[in-house]
């Protein structure tokens, strides 16, 4: 099959069309240059300035952040030192309290022991006294009974006379 196509005509542009195309493009460029060039430049300038400002702010923020970090590290270090000091003090205080509790407990235990010993001694003495008192009571009752059995009127009169004699002397 044979195609009837003007391949050469298709490969090379039409001169007129090309001139029109170029003229239209030149008009477009001219219009662009005339109407949009300055605002576009101004816009780009502004964007550039804004970006620079942002960059400066970011740099400044970065510096400040670094300073803050240094300060925070310093504070952290101090806080760590203080915490360690507090822990040490706490340990010492705890040790001291523990020693005091142990000492006091020992003293109290000693006191209780002494009191218990004294109480025991007292109870023992009381018991001894009670027994001795009972013995004396029984002995005195026995003596009284014996004397009552032995005493007669004559003996009683003799006692009265002795009493009178004692008063006189």
């Amino acid at each position: 099959m044979q195609l009837d196509i003007d391949i050469a005509g298709k490969l090379f542009p039409n001169l007129l069309t090309m001139i029109v195309q170029l003229a239209a493009t030149g008009v477009l460029f001219y219009g662009f240059k005339r109407l949009l060039w300055k605002p576009t430049l101004a816009y780009l300038q502004k964007r550039s300035e804004y970006a620079e400002t942002q960059l400066r702010d970011a740099e400044s923020a970065s510096v400040m952040a670094m300073q803050h970090e240094k300060t925070a590290q310093l504070l952290l270090h101090e806080a760590t030192k203080e915490a360690q000091l507090l822990v040490e003090r706490g340990k010492e205080e705890g040790k001291r309290v523990k020693e005091k509790i142990v000492t006091d407990g020992k003293a109290e235990a000693d006191l209780k022991l002494q009191t218990a010993l004294r109480e025991m001694a007292y109870q023992k003495q009381q018991m001894q006294d009670s027994i001795q008192s009972e013995i004396i009571n029984v002995a005195m009752l026995a003596a009284q009974k014996l004397i009552e059995d032995k005493v007669n009127e004559q003996e009683d009169r003799l006692q009265v006379q002795r009493f009178i004699q004692d008063i006189r002397s």
């Binding site: 001795q132 004396i136 009571n137 005195m140 004397i147 003996e155 009683d156 006692q159 009493f163 009178i164």
Partner: protein, 179 residues
């Protein structure tokens, strides 16, 4: 002590001082009082309103006329007329106190297991008088708990020569010694 009793006691005391009969009246009135104290019904007789005052006077006259001073009988008449015979023991107690104060006499009690003969009480009174440097009059009371011996109480002073006291002293000494 009723004020009335004190007034009667003072009156009879002043009269006895004036007549120098303190000791006599004291013993006579004490003897009458002893009868009333030992037999309280005899004193109640004088409080009975059914019996006239003249009958009460007559009884006093019959019982005491030959035994006590007439002034004391008159004194009792006064008490009967004033319906104050019920105060007789109190009056005599106060009268004895007044006489004792005036004559520097201390009254006391001697406790014994058996009744003491009068001569022994007398000896004891003499001995106590010498020791106390004042006349002492003692009345005898029985206390069988003494076992034997006597105890003399004059005011706040106690002289204890009883076996009970000796046993108590011995007991105290033994108790002290055992500790």
């Amino acid at each position: 002590m009723e004020k009335a009793a004190a007034r009667y006691a003072t009156a009879i005391f002043e009269l006895s001082t004036e007549l120098k009969f303190e000791n006599n009246w004291k013993s006579e009135l004490s003897e009458i009082n002893r009868i009333f104290v030992e037999d309280p019904d005899s004193l109640k007789f004088f409080s009975r309103s059914q019996i006239t005052k003249s009958e009460k006077r007559e009884l006093i006259k019959q019982v005491f006329e030959s035994q006590i001073d007439n002034t004391l009988i008159n004194f009792m008449y006064v008490l009967i007329d004033a319906d104050r015979m019920n105060l007789f023991p109190e009056i005599i107690k106060e009268f004895r106190k007044l006489v004792n104060d005036k004559l520097n006499i201390a009254e006391g009690t001697v406790y014994s297991v058996r009744p003491l003969p009068a001569e022994e009480i007398k000896k004891l009174e003499q001995a106590m008088s010498l020791r106390n440097k004042q006349s002492v009059e003692l009345s005898n009371r029985l206390d069988p708990t003494l076992i034997t011996g006597i105890k003399v109480v004059i005011g706040n002073t106690v002289s204890d020569g009883s076996m009970k006291n000796r046993i108590r002293s011995l007991k105290e000494e033994l108790t002290r010694g055992s500790r």
